[in-house]
Symmetry: C2
Subunit: 126 residues, 2 copies
């Protein structure tokens, strides 16, 4: 596995996801302040595939520069705000979920071994 | 915007994406070492929606525990390997892309003002 490429691809996924979150944030502000524009942005963002944040912003820039700039500003604040804690959170999340999966699997297997006394269980001593 | 909720949602997105990358890594190892199993995993992972890494792993655990455990181990290594650099990378990526969008937009607007000083009036009268 190319560590660098995975890191780069993951960066793109996070950037796009934060662009989506920034759009949602602007949308909820607009819903209060400017409902017609909120409706327009919701329609526009529904049509556009938000898989790629940059493609989305390019399309939005051509339609409504002010909104695009606003979303760009919000995503920049967002990344400054939350990114620092994320490595710890993701590491903790994956370790926790892994151990939960392992535990559930052991429980499932021991359940099976009660009902099917001949089935083998691996690493039951964990 | 609830900063905590965004951080939590982003964590889930990253965990799921790293699960997908771990699956790809195991898949490419299997393609060399055990082509029939690689074929099976490709088929299985195509059917399963990999949007949610935990749902995917749960389904895989029920079908092939060894593969699921292997992917879980790989994603744990992966997160330890790449997460540390990601905050800096994402921050840099978003700042860079934002400034590129702003630059392109300015160029586009100045292009418009050079080439179409009268076209708006013309097209309005058409």
């Amino acid at each position: 596995m190319d560590r660098k490429q995975v890191a780069k691809a993951t960066t793109k996924v996070i950037s796009s996801y934060l662009t989506y979150q920034a759009m949602q944030s602007v949308l909820s502000e607009l819903t209060e302040m400017n409902p017609p524009l909120a409706l327009w942005l919701r329609g526009f963002s529904g049509q556009q595939i938000l898989q790629d944040g940059e493609v989305y912003l390019q399309a939005l820039l051509a339609q409504n520069q002010e909104l695009a700039f606003r979303i760009m500003t919000v995503r920049e604040h967002l990344v400054e705000d939350i990114m620092e804690d994320l490595p710890e959170m993701v590491l903790h999340d994956i370790k926790l979920k892994n151990s939960q999966h392992r535990k559930q699997q052991l429980e499932r297997l021991s359940q099976l071994s009660i009902t099917e006394p001949t089935s083998q269980i691996e690493s039951a001593s964990e």
